[in-house]
């Protein structure tokens, strides 16, 4: 599953951040997973947690918490704001968006004016929202 690669990116990035912040032990990593990418949040948290067990020492005890990021879009043409539910997308198209969320521009349309020219305001994909821990 390609989520494994994203989980590896999370662990690598979290390691860099912990070192920049001089954290001796990371206690919690909060992930924000945008609904547009349609990743199973629980499964993804387990993937990251699993990879943390063989990560750098300061990350091994960290707990992973996931916050769901609701997707929101704004049409560049008519300025309507809309949600993913407003734009009807089929299952096959959802798979392409799952791999590359920008494919939303190929398969989604503004529900008001039909334009594919919209911006993804939030809820695109995987982000690290917060890393907390202790300094020695």
């Amino acid at each position: 599953m390609h989520e494994w690669a994203l989980a590896e990116a999370v662990v690598t990035s979290a390691t860099e951040t912990a070192r920049q912040q001089k954290l001796a032990a990371v206690e919690e990593i909060v992930l924000n997973i945008g609904e547009l990418q349609a990743i199973d949040n629980e499964m993804f948290a387990e993937l990251v947690q699993g990879q943390l067990s063989s990560a750098a020492a300061e990350l091994r005890g960290a707990k992973v918490r996931v916050v769901k990021g609701e997707a929101a879009f704004e049409c560049q043409v008519c300025k309507k704001e809309f949600s993913e539910k407003d734009a009807k997308v089929g299952e096959e198209e959802r798979e392409a968006i799952h791999f590359v969320p920008e494919m939303a521009h190929v398969y989604m349309r503004c529900p008001a004016c039909g334009s594919p020219d919209f911006s993804i305001v939030r809820g695109r994909g995987v982000f690290i929202q917060e890393i907390s821990g202790r300094h020695d």
Partner: protein, 236 residues
């Protein structure tokens, strides 16, 4: 919020010996043809070769190489299919032949996603068909892949030459390594870049290339491929 994806790019490319970013700063100059045929030539010489089409809004490498039915597989990331001896990744796998209307920042985001999740394995060369121009995606690419070597494509046309000169100066200031300059669609007269230290050679306009599109074996028999092959010979 931290976007974790750029942190993993170096690791994804750890098994790739050289990254050649084929770039051109004007449309219609043959950038995609040169990227695709260069990958084909390197693969035929026995090099482990991959091709990444990042020209999302005008993806055409799959058309040039006649890659119609190939599809990626999913494992610990996306494994690109191998076609004609080339490991190949393109946005065309996701867009199903439709137009891809992406603004500059969206092109960058999509490129970053592919770079983060694509597993290239061990490769001698990764040829990247770069996004056209000097917009967000091009600047991001050279920032994300610092060891990418630019192969700059131009034509003899005044507008292409002037754009190339300006763009080369920009990328030089960004400390991007320049592999060289290739003049495509040459009229067979000496190039304006003949005396440039990094001028690699010229490829004459080849009317047979159009008919060979989609047929790699035919492409390899064209004068275009023969002349590009001579230019690429120093790569090994």
């Amino acid at each position: 919020m931290i976007d974790p994806r750029s942190s993993i790019i170096e690791k994804r490319l750890a098994g790739v010996k050289r990254v050649i970013a084929v770039t051109g700063w004007k449309g219609g100059i043959g950038k995609s043809s040169i990227a695709s045929v260069l990958a084909l030539l390197l693969a035929r010489k026995g090099h482990r070769t991959a091709l990444l089409d990042l020209d999302f809004t005008g993806a055409s490498d799959h058309i040039i190489l006649g890659i119609n039915d190939a599809h990626y597989t999913e494992e610990t990331g996306l494994n690109p299919p191998v076609a004609h001896g080339i490991m190949f990744m393109s946005m065309s796998f996701f867009s199903q032949g439709r137009a891809v209307p992406l603004r500059g920042s969206d092109v960058s985001q999509a490129a970053l996603e592919l770079l983060a999740v694509t597993q290239w394995g061990e490769q001698d060369f990764l040829v990247v068909d770069m996004p056209p121009g000097i917009g967000d995606a091009s600047l991001d690419m050279v920032r994300w892949i610092k060891r990418a070597e630019l192969l700059a494509v131009t034509t003899p046309a005044v507008l292409a030459v002037e754009t190339l000169k300006r763009s080369l100066a920009l990328f030089e200031r960004l400390n991007v390594p320049l592999l060289g300059i290739v003049e495509n669609l040459s009229a067979g007269v000496p190039s304006q870049f003949n005396h440039h230290a990094k001028f690699l050679g010229a490829i004459r306009h080849d009317p047979n290339l159009e008919a060979a599109t989609g047929h790699p074996e035919q492409i390899l028999r064209t004068r275009f491929a023969e002349e590009l092959g001579k230019i690429a010979a120093p790569l090994g």
